[in-house]
Amino acid sequence: MSKIIKIISLIILNPIIIFGLYVIVHGHLTPGGGFQGGAIIAGATALILVVFENNIKLSRGLFSLFEFLGLTSFILMAFWGIVKNTFFYNFLTNSNGILGKTIVFGINQGYLNSGGVIPLMNLSVGIEVASGLSLIIILITRNL
């Protein structure tokens, strides 16, 4: 690809990733969540692969590591629920600590500090989907 496209795509690379992170972090307040944000971040990987073609080396091992971390943190959070109550129990909500702000049922302003374990799960799903989809795209463009 030409130099213009390379520079422009490098400029918009950061906004794409930041928007993906925004969708992931606000998953419990707005439409979206881990999967959608992760898919947006994987779009950044696709952009890099399309623009730089074969001139860039993306480390597969790093993506595998992040995929593993996302999956394991998700399932371990679910397991920690067993200790407190049952599997997938939301042990942080209404605890008034971090992520545990008590909010009334109904229309509200939207507090980032609420939702208990759900934002954390969104984050781990987001990491998992972003790295997993990136891995799929890399493998397919490299002809497996």
Partner: protein, 103 residues
């Protein structure tokens, strides 16, 4: 009144089934499966629809007239699964192409 949504659903599913039965090209097969999936997704999402309803989210909602969230959760799951299936099918077709040099 004719229910256009359900007609579209049936139309999409029939197109997809036609594709899966009569197309030999592997990419077209994967596309047909996606068309069926979209038809089913449209069917499910239309079940939860209410006239004038908003997205079922409390953050800064103007009113409480909302569409049902359950079908949305269902089709989100189906989209994720369909993504996995499509990725798998496409990578298998790449592998087949590498060995056989045709799709």
């Amino acid at each position: 009144m004719i229910n256009f949504i359900f007609l579209t659903v049936i139309f999409l599913i029939i197109i997809g089934l036609f594709g899966t039965m009569f197309k030999k090209n592997l990419i077209k097969l994967a596309m047909s499966i996606n068309i069926i999936s979209n038809g089913v997704n449209l069917f499910l999402i239309s079940l939860g629809y209410r006239q004038g309803g908003i997205a079922p989210i409390f953050t800064n909602a103007p009113n409480l007239k909302m569409v049902s969230p359950t079908p949305q959760a269902l089709i989100l799951t189906n989209i994720v699964i369909n993504l996995a299936v499509t990725a798998f099918l496409l990578s298998l077709s790449i592998l087949i192409y590498k060995k056989e040099k045709k799709l």
